[in-house]
């Protein structure tokens, strides 16, 4: 049986090295973000702008997707649609198969993780190398990313040094970061040189111009989209943006929120394959548009806010839970607050409902989200759906799949007590009178806390006495 979220989280909490790697990284990223958002008013205006741009995209999503498709095709970019992860993988495999491709290099793409592309290609004899340094490290370690922006954030440089020493021929132990990056550079340059296909994600796809925008620092994204003869971009259908003039505020929000950079080293705008006469760039560019549950999310006007996300990762960086348990404890491709909102929606509440419990609803995520997604509210809504009593006929979403009898009865009992003042007064009176007899142990609570001690008299009683006293005074 796979461990539950709570079990994984508990294990992660006990892992001292992991705790300190995450604590250090999160403190660093929070500080970096704060250092580029010093003007609170500008930040508020920019977030409102980002929110509205993304909301307007959603309001016209189907027609913008059609426009994007038409513009891309006009530019010579081939557009493919995939409803499921399997369809997306198959589309990509077929493109590669047709070109007789054996080696692919991949830039950072969470959507490719979402569809399980590496595995799919591997089982069909195609090697797919991750070229983002963090992703490369994670692939070498046979792990998955623990963060959507910094995939190897769970590892210290010493752990990476040991990994390189163990897995790469001819590399000795060094914890010098420049040397480690140098090793990666050398190995991956060779792969870029040889690769048949480059795969990338997309940060923004501009409908007006048919332009695919990629944000990165390393240059591996440019390598993947420039050097191999074929470029395949894969993205979720929500990544479309209406106009090129919408890009500056979104880019600024993305890079500043993600890593505290005013801009990344590269902002790569691709609008067509190599044109006649041009000397480099891919001969073919493909865009795979993935649904995978997004159109279902889109049906609900409240949950639809999920789709504004620009995948900056700020919500996880500021999440006090993620900061302590790390990305792997969630057991999903997208971790942290946005993961808790996305995963149960795309893969169903039955499978991922439990992760919505890993949230204190403190709201730090929504406070930093560059497009003002009310993540805590969405998490609360998903909790409600997973525990709902009424189950719809077509229940792929897993409505009510986590409803537990005991919990439902407990809340029913709670309701009876709290909606009827007379019962409430009786119960609270009893608690205050029996305070000395209170059990020393309340399950989970007293494992970490001393038992709470009720006051000898409730506020209700004290107020009653007060009233009697004043009315007596009045009579005198």
């Amino acid at each position: 049986m796979t461990p539950t979220f709570r079990q994984r989280a508990t294990d992660a909490l006990a892992d001292k090295a992991l705790r300190s790697n995450f604590r250090g990284a999160m403190d660093f990223l929070r500080e970096k973000r704060a250092s580029v958002f010093t003007d609170e008013r500008e930040l508020a205006e920019l977030r409102a702008l980002g929110h509205q741009i993304r909301a307007n995209v959603l309001s016209r999503l189907p027609s913008l997707l059609e426009q994007l498709e038409a513009q891309c095709q006009k530019n010579g970019i081939q557009v493919h649609w995939a409803e499921t992860p399997n369809e997306a993988c198959e589309i990509i495999y077929q493109i590669m198969h047709r070109r007789n491709a054996k080696l692919a290099v991949k830039g950072k793409s969470m959507v490719s993780e979402e569809v399980g592309l590496n595995h799919y290609l591997e089982t069909r004899g195609i090697e797919c190398i991750e070229s983002d340094m963090g992703e490369y490290i994670v692939q070498l370690a046979e792990e998955t990313p623990s963060h959507i922006i910094m995939p190897a954030i769970h590892k210290s440089k010493e752990q990476i040094a040991r990994l390189f020493e163990e897995k790469i021929d001819g590399v000795g132990y060094t914890n010098n970061v420049d040397e480690l990056i140098g090793v990666g550079r050398t190995i991956l340059r060779d792969k870029f040189f040889k690769a048949d296909v480059g795969i990338s994600g997309v940060n923004f796809a501009v409908a007006e111009t048919g332009t695919l925008c990629l944000v990165e620092n390393e240059g591996n994204g440019r390598m993947c989209t420039t050097i191999p003869p074929v470029h395949i971009a894969i993205t979720g259908i929500e990544k479309v943006v209406e106009k090129i003039s919408d890009i500056p505020p979104l880019l600024s929000l993305l890079t500043r929120s993600a890593t505290g950079q005013r801009i990344t080293t590269y902002f790569n705008m691709i609008s067509s394959p190599r044109k006649k006469g041009e000397r480099d760039g891919p001969e073919e560019v493909h865009l795979v548009l993935l649904d995978n549950g997004r159109s279902r999310i889109y049906q609900d006007t409240h949950l639809q806010e999920t789709l504004r996300c620009i995948r900056c990762g700020a919500c996880m960086n500021h999440c006090p839970v993620y900061s302590r348990i790390g990305g792997h404890a969630y057991g999903t491709v997208y971790p942290g607050p946005i993961g808790q909102v996305v995963m149960p929606q795309i893969e169903g509440l039955e499978k991922h409902g439990e992760m919505t419990e890993g949230c204190s609803l403190n709201g730090a995520c929504g406070e930093v989200c560059p497009v003002e997604i009310p993540l805590a509210d969405l998490i609360r809504t998903l909790r409600q759906k997973k525990s709902a009593a009424a189950i719809p006929p077509d229940n792929r979403a897993g409505i009510g799949s986590h409803r537990k009898k005991t919990e439902a009865i407990a809340w029913m009992f709670w309701k009876w007590v709290h909606r009827a003042p007379a019962i409430y007064l009786m119960v609270t009176f009893a608690i205050s009178r029996l305070r000395l007899l209170m059990p020393r142990s309340f399950g989970a609570w007293t494992r970490y806390h001393s038992a709470p001690k009720p006051a000898p008299q409730t506020l209700h009683e004290l107020m009653r006495h007060r009233k009697q006293a004043t009315s007596k005074e009045d009579q005198l």
């Binding site: 909490l13 006090p320 204190s360 730090a364 970490y448 009720p454």
Partner: protein
């Protein structure tokens, strides 16, 4: 955030919250004394129970709605409702209107939402209270809850009150704005994570060397003081209303 109201009301409602009712009634009385000292009549509807947050945050909306509706029916006159807890205030101000959408009491919920004031916010903004510190010098750590920071945005008002107390020195622990891990039913459902967050918060508080912990939210206080007590840490925790009343009466 509420605007500065032009005139000080003659009467207010007081919503005591269930935690204060059972565990911290002294904080409730102190809050009421402070308001009354300003010449404002405090009405405490005796039928009040709980704002409904626990089932609401657990996804049991039907149960939350019934209890919320019962509260809404108690606070109908057009006067402010003072709530000595930012998280309960946020429930009534921000979440009731959403929770009761389509419910016959929706209009009343909206009306109530506009009259909700967190306790510090009310004293500082609405009453514009002047406080005279009569107590000996002490140092405190102020824990501002996540609801106070984000949903109610009343941290400056709380600070404004405490700054008036001459002999009180406020110390800020490391990562002050990070959640303490209480989160209501979260502490019961995910006790390991909650405790890990709580432990970090307790450690940060202990590191300041200060022995008085103050907060405007009794949930956080119960969580933190419960963890401290389990550890035999000699820290005394108190709701801000108790501190203000104790030192200015």
């Amino acid at each position: 955030m509420s605007e500065h109201t032009p005139s000080i009301p003659a009467e207010v409602y007081f919503f005591g919250t269930c935690l204060i009712d059972v565990f911290y009634p002294d904080a409730g009385i102190s809050a009421i004394e402070l308001i009354e000292r300003e010449g404002i009549k405090v009405i405490f509807p005796p039928q009040q129970t709980c704002c409904g947050q626990p089932p609401y945050n657990s996804g049991y909306n039907d149960e939350a709605i019934e209890v919320a509706a019962a509260q809404i029916a108690l606070f109908t006159r057009p006067i402010p409702v003072v709530v000595p807890s930012a998280s309960c205030a946020a429930m009534m101000k921000h979440h009731y209107p959403r929770l009761l959408e389509g419910h016959p009491l929706h209009a009343q919920a909206l009306n109530l939402a506009n009259r909700i004031y967190e306790f510090s916010e009310f004293l500082s903004n609405t009453v514009n209270i002047t406080l005279q510190d009569k107590g000996p010098p002490i140092k405190i750590v102020l824990h501002q809850s996540c609801s106070a920071r984000r949903e109610m945005q009343v941290t400056t008002q709380t600070m404004q009150l405490l700054h008036q107390l001459e002999n009180v020195e406020i110390c800020e622990p490391e990562r002050a704005s990070e959640c303490c891990g209480f989160g209501g039913t979260f502490a019961i459902k995910q006790p390991e994570i909650s405790a890990a967050m709580g432990k970090d918060k307790c450690d940060a508080i202990k590191k300041t060397g200060v022995l008085n912990l103050i907060s405007g939210d009794c949930g956080c206080l119960m969580h933190l003081s419960g963890m401290m007590a389990k550890d035999n840490a000699p820290i005394r925790s108190e709701h801000i209303a108790s501190l203000l009343w104790r030192r200015t009466r």
